[in-house]
Amino acid sequence: MAINWFKYSSPASFYFLAGKMIPIFVFAAVILLIAGLYVGFFVAPTDFQQGEAYRIIFIHVPAAWMSMFLYVVMAFWAGIGLAFNTRLSSMFATAIAPTGAMFTFIALWTGALWGKPMWGTWWVWDARLTSELILLFLYIGFMSLQAAIDDPRRADKAGAIIALVGVVNIPIIYFSVQWWNTLHQGASVSINQAPSMATTMLMGMLIMVLASWMYSIAVILKRARVIILERESHTAWVAELRKKGAEQ
């Protein structure tokens, strides 16, 4: 049986599909989160160098990965929306941005919490930390540009352009910062050679990465649904939905 995928590029049919998908992803996220945290806090052994403090990687590493990955996904959907003028893609990009910014913030925050016992300081101008901070600025720029524009179609397209410019710039910024850092020789800490991890540690981390994926998908779908309702509020199907809601 051939499935007509394009059917779901219409906000109306996607709305109902997303509604069916969200519980699945929420369920998966909760299960994986519990499993990941259990492995992370009770099964994984204590690190002989870093003691118990290393356990923050079970949150830190997934958050850092998601923060970078979500920016690329956001720029991808924004670019598709700009190129093919598909409304749903742009709505998706808008829905991804806050989650990505949140993960960036968590990565920075947990990194600071880990840095204090390990390096003795909350913050060093390390290449990774600095580029993560700049990534947060890029997310904030994208969101505030979209928030400042009243017309949703213009907001979509303007956001898409700035997201694409950002995605082109991310490698340039990253390498600039890295080179700048090696020039300055400021912080004498190196997090480049990660010590080899015990299998259970790696397992816990991977489960947490999966949990973050599931969480992101669930939240982004939910937010996309809200955006769809808001933008399609003038259409017949939303009016019908509203009537049904009032009857219940």
């Binding site: 700049i134 600025f137 890029l138 904030i140 720029g141 505030s144 540009l145 400042a148 524009i149 179609r153 213009r154 397209k157 303007a158 352009i161 700035i162 694409l164 410019v165 950002g166 082109v168 710039n169 340039i172 910024i173 600039s176 910062v177 080179w179 700048w180 020039l183």
Partner: protein, 219 residues
């Protein structure tokens, strides 16, 4: 057409010289504030100088971005430009170049004098001026994207800084880095080459991105 738009923008700037001077004096004042805030110790000022001058140049160039399109937008000229059969990217390139001639070049000319205030050695002054000469056009080109996107928005001025400043970071790193490398006795050619590369890349891509941003903003 390209030459015409530069000539026109320069003429407009000449008629309103206060705009040009405001940007220049902003640059001078910001640079002069730093010794007042951190103290007049020459050794410290010398190490700070490249960074301070570059950050001030970034801010001055960014503050004048609003003028790049807004007057043409208000009196309808921009709409006519969009309708014209000429390539919009080329027009935008002309406008960015005019913006650089009006705001960037005065900053470049002023920088050595401000460097003397910070007791920079002669060779460092030369490097500072060269990096600014190469780097300020990149600022105008990248800034034109932000200016086009925020055209006619509420609070556009603050928004432009959020959009554009993170994108300025590579130019800042290598611009200030070249001067620091020179003062530390290390070669600075690699820095200059990289800024040159940024200039070439932004010359190709920025007018194109700005043109599509203008189309979005004026839809």
């Amino acid at each position: 057409m390209f030459g015409w738009i530069i000539k026109r923008d320069l003429l407009l700037a000449m008629r309103r010289q206060s705009d040009v001077l405001t940007t220049l004096f902003f640059f001078i004042i910001v640079v002069s504030l730093f010794p007042l805030s951190v103290g007049p110790e020459m050794n410290m000022l010398r190490t700070m100088a490249p960074g301070v001058v570059w950050v001030a140049a970034l801010l001055a160039s960014m503050l004048s971005l609003g003028r790049m399109f807004s007057n043409d937008y208000l009196d309808g000229t921009l709409e006519q430009m969009l309708l014209s059969p000429q390539s919009l990217s080329l027009l935008v390139l002309g406008k960015a170049l005019a913006h650089w001639l009006v705001t960037g070049v005065p900053l470049v000319l002023m920088a050595p004098i401000l460097g003397i205030q910070y007791d920079l050695p002669a060779e460092a002054l030369y490097v500072l001026t060269t990096t600014l000469l190469l780097g300020t056009p990149v600022l105008s080109l990248i800034g034109s994207i932000g200016a086009a996107l925020t055209l006619g928005l509420r609070g556009g001025g603050v928004l432009v800084s959020l959009l554009v400043l993170p994108l300025y970071i590579p130019v800042l790193i290598f611009g200030a880095g070249a001067v620091e490398a020179n003062m530390a006795g290390v070669g600075f050619n690699a820095h200059l080459s990289l800024i040159g590369a940024f200039l070439l890349v932004s010359l190709v891509f920025a007018p194109w991105a700005t043109a599509s941003s203008l189309r979005v903003s004026l839809e």
